[in-house]
């Protein structure tokens, strides 16, 4: 196996202009109740980034290695050959900044046997009454070491957890999934309880009545599929390389959508990769650049983009590690769907989505409803099925956001959003 030190020695011998080596020694454990399975995995992954300056510009190569055999010198030669054949206009790396001060390790998992910890967590899991729940839990602990030619040296240990469960009551079931850095942040008991409650609601659910309505996205619907959920277009569009090529609607200095700067509660979003225990956090990014918090949207206007080292150099700025966790500013809305219905005549409170598909170029999305509640005339009627099509960028830029916040995975922001005008089909 080629180790990081051998790689570094080989790089120094070959006088590479600029390089970064990232090594991840990972331990994983999976406990799966449904399959009666305990799985342990040990693996090492390494990333080698080389920049070689030549008279015609700077060549860059990035190697992802999951099988470290052979010689470090050969590997560096290969990387240099790749870099020499991919020369782009010249740019200079900025001096390394201090890694972000962020905690990404669950102290309870710092020394624990991961397989035993996963099994114990499942054994101690509180299950909802009146429903059955089978769960699986995957725990990852990784020791990360980063070293660069510019003198950056950083080491940290991180934990990453993923839980999945199937909650069943009678002849209905719901699948739930959660990701977190700490066992306590998974919120699995609450997720199971919420699923059990929604199973009860779905037993009485009828058919959707198409028509115009106000749309309330609850947390489960808003963050469907994990990650940034419906907020994903804001992260995707704030990619500096895409923005520079004009491939997104996002333009720094312009409203994120027409009229977004004049909304009652103008949207504010920041990327914060230094948020303790958020799943998108890390001290150093994938290119060896320090991670920073930076604003993406302020009062409805695009103000920042994620900057890799190269994009930062092109713009004469410091890199910020790219878009990581999204921090969405809270609003003043009380989250009351019934009150929204009283104002608008009808409000559809979306509890769960069946599918969410987003066009990454435009932000247009199709939301397939799995369970929703139709608030109208003082009554609340649960229903299943139906779909809503939204230009998510415009809709969320003008949406009212709840004052109550939630933190889940790479998202910290309002627990619910109210889109004043939508059409249920």
């Amino acid at each position: 196996m080629i180790g990081r030190r051998e790689l570094v020695r080989a790089l120094e011998r070959r006088r590479v202009s600029d390089w970064v080596v990232i090594e991840r020694a990972q331990e994983l454990a999976l406990a799966d109740e449904a399959r009666g399975l305990e799985r342990r995995e040990a693996r090492t992954r390494a990333t080698l980034i080389v920049h070689q300056d030549v008279p015609s510009g700077r060549g860059t190569a990035r190697l992802e290695l999951a099988a470290l055999e052979g010689s470090a010198a050969d590997l560096v030669d290969r990387a240099l050959a790749l870099a020499a054949a991919a020369v782009a206009p010249s740019w200079k790396s900025v001096a390394p900044a201090a890694p972000a001060k962020v905690t990404v390790l669950d102290p309870a998992l710092a020394r624990a046997d991961l397989a035993q910890a996963a099994a114990a967590a499942l054994r101690g899991l509180r299950r909802p009454a009146g429903a059955t729940a089978s769960a699986s839990l995957e725990l990852l602990r990784e020791q990360v070491a980063v070293q660069s030619s510019a003198g950056l040296t950083a080491r940290w240990t991180a934990s990453q957890l993923r839980a999945e469960a199937l909650v069943a009551a009678g002849d209905r079931s719901l699948a739930v999934a959660r990701e977190a850095r700490r066992l306590g942040d998974l919120g699995l008991p609450a997720a199971l309880a919420g699923a059990a409650a929604d199973l009860g609601l779905s037993a009485a659910a009828g058919a959707p009545e198409p028509g115009r309505c106000a749309l309330v996205l609850t947390a489960e619907a808003m963050l469907h599929g994990g990650g940034h959920g419906v907020w994903a277009p804001f992260a995707a569009h704030a990619d500096a390389a895409l923005e520079r090529r004009g491939l997104t609607r996002y333009r720094v200095g312009a409203p994120v959508a027409p009229g977004a700067d004049r909304a009652d509660e103008p949207l504010g979003i920041a990327s914060d990769g230094a948020l303790d225990f958020a799943t998108g956090s890390a001290p150093v990014g994938e290119d060896g650049d320090a991670i920073r918090r930076f604003p993406l949207i302020e009062r409805g206007v695009c103000v920042g983009v994620g900057l890799s080292a190269r994009e930062a150099a092109r713009r004469g700025r410091d890199p910020n590690g790219g878009v990581r966790n999204l921090v969405v500013a809270p609003g003043t809305w009380d989250g009351d769907a019934a009150a929204a219905a009283a104002r608008r005549g009808r409000a559809v409170e979306v509890r769960r989505l069946r599918a969410l598909s987003i066009d990454p170029y435009t932000g247009e999305a199709s939301l397939e409803l799995l369970l929703a509640v139709d608030h109208r005339g003082g009554a609340a009627r649960p229903f299943t099925s139906g779909a809503v099509y939204l230009d998510l960028v415009a809709a969320l830029a003008r949406a009212r956001r709840s004052a109550q916040l939630i933190a889940r995975g790479p998202y910290l922001g309002p627990a619910a959003a109210l889109i004043e005008d939508a059409e249920l089909v």
């Binding site: 994983l28 992954r45 099988a67 089978s134 987003i358």
Partner: protein, 486 residues
């Protein structure tokens, strides 16, 4: 999640610098000679010795043992308006799976396909005991044939050949690219009862086109995939030119009325529907859900003209294999036959004989999954199905909810048909929605020409390969336009 963009497109744009998500690909451009992977060919016998020793030691401690090892190399070559590039990535892994006397399964996985790495994994499961069970495995299987190694220059040339195929490129095409993607996996599967080895070289060739239509980009692609040599098959010129024509197609402004209609699904859409349906409802994992069990206990009748099977033995199938990742030899499974649901895809964890236990990248957690789904061809030419309704083309994602069986299939375009001819009206971005069994139950026509499509996605950073072979299908369902005002 940004759903509707196929992974291959992200990979391609990432590789060519148009997106920031490129992690697997090494870099653009390398003219050096290819270095053959040293592990598979040179030391196959050595690897077998280590694995057999691991099985012998584990079999002394556990009633059921299976060891799976893989040495994998991925090579991707791409050419576009910005230049050409070749990327290579490498992954090794060993999965030791044992069943305890209590019935619980334990797995130890390592990325070290070395004697020391395997021995350490064995110690983690069985301790340091030197005891070994006696194995009667006989002679090792013959070494699979070594695929021809192509250097970077040759791969770039294959990409440029795809680019040269297209005589319909115009200035309205703002982006054009060609891709050749080769996943070469050498897999060993050994238990006290068997010793198997296979070499799966999965090849995809793809052409990508993008053009602006009003304020929206339209991205189309032609793709073909198989298992075998890089030069065994080519992308047909007609498919590449059709991708260009589809990207340039001017759409009819406005939308049509949302309602139930007769629709003809082109092979990519039919494949997308069958793939999503089989994975959501017809696996042993899906059957853990009470709704799925209930639906499958009394499924609605299906038309006799519809027959669907999963067949990993289909010659050259991109998703095919000789044995699955639990070591079970490949055999076809009928899923829909004689007007009813005839079977499901299972791994051994489900308690049966299995046969579709598949691990992402041959090293991930096992899951029941399809290999090569085949919709049996019908008797009529596909043109004969196009009488009335809408012809839906260009799959942009399908979802089937296992809880309700509701299917939603996105289509890039809908061409209006009347009297057996297209009217010339073409609507962009539509979707077909309905209950999966109702959509399949109303199939009234199956074309005789089929198209095989490769699927490559990832789970936990590891690839999953499968393919679907499907003809045009005529059915009936609710069609609606996706674009609305908020």
């Amino acid at each position: 999640m940004l759903g509707p963009v196929p992974l291959s497109r992200r990979e391609l744009l990432g590789a060519l610098g148009a997106a920031s998500g490129s992690t697997l690909l090494w870099a653009l451009g390398c003219g050096g000679p290819v270095r053959p992977p040293s592990t598979p060919a040179r030391v196959s016998g050595e690897v077998r010795t280590w694995l057999r020793d691991a099985v012998a030691r584990l079999a002394a401690a556990f009633p059921a043992v299976h060891v799976l090892a893989v040495s994998r190399q991925r090579t991707t070559a791409a050419v576009d308006v910005l230049g050409a590039g070749v990327a290579r990535a490498r992954r090794d892994g060993v999965v030791l799976a044992v069943r305890e006397r209590s019935g619980r399964w334990r797995e130890q996985v390592t990325s070290e396909l070395t004697q020391a790495g395997i021995a350490a994994a064995v110690r983690a499961l069985a301790g340091a005991s030197p005891r070994r069970a006696s194995l009667e495995l006989g002679e090792p299987p013959p070494l699979p044939p070594e695929p021809a190694a192509l250097d970077d220059r040759a791969l770039r040339e294959r990409c440029e050949q795809i680019t040269r195929l297209d005589g319909k490129l115009s200035s309205r095409i703002v982006y054009a690219a060609a891709l050749v993607d080769v996943d070469d996996a050498h897999v060993w599967s050994i238990s006290p009862a068997h010793d198997r080895e296979q070499r799966l070289v999965r090849v995809r060739k793809q052409a990508l086109r993008a053009a602006w239509n009003g304020t929206r980009p339209v991205v189309t692609e032609a793709e073909r995939g198989w298992t075998g040599g890089v030069d065994d098959l080519d992308l047909p010129r007609e498919a590449v030119e059709q991708a260009t024509e589809d990207a340039l197609l001017l759409m009819t402004p406005g939308a049509f009325e949302d309602k139930e209609r007769v629709v003809v699904l082109d092979p990519p859409l039919a494949a997308s529907l069958v793939d999503a349906g089989a994975r959501a409802l017809l696996t042993s994992a899906a059957a853990r859900r009470p709704e799925v069990r209930r639906r499958l206990e009394a499924p609605p009748p299906l038309p006799a003209i519809l027959a669907i099977a999963d067949d990993p033995t289909a010659p050259g199938a991109y998703g095919g294999f000789q044995f699955d990742d639990e070591g079970v030899p490949a055999a076809p499974i009928a899923l829909v036959e004689g007007g009813r649901i005839a079977g499901a895809l299972a791994d051994r964890a489900a308690g049966g004989s299995g046969g579709r236990g598949r691990r992402p990248g041959h090293v991930g957690a096992v899951e029941p999954a399809p290999s090569h789904l085949r919709v049996a061809p019908g008797a009529a030419p596909h043109a004969a199905l196009r009488d009335e309704g809408l012809l839906l083309e260009g799959a942009i994602g399908a979802a089937v909810d296992p809880g309700t069986g509701r299917a939603v299939i996105g289509a890039a375009r809908a061409r209006e048909l009347k009297g057996g001819e297209p009217t010339g009206r073409v609507y962009a971005d539509v979707e077909l929605a309905g209950d999966l069994f109702a959509l399949l139950g109303q199939v009234s026509g199956v074309a005789r020409e089929t198209v095989a499509l490769p699927y490559r996605d990832e789970a936990g950073g590891e690839p999953r390969w499968r393919s679907v072979e499907a003809p045009h299908l005529r059915t009936r369902g609710f069609v609606r336009a996706r674009r609305r005002r908020a």
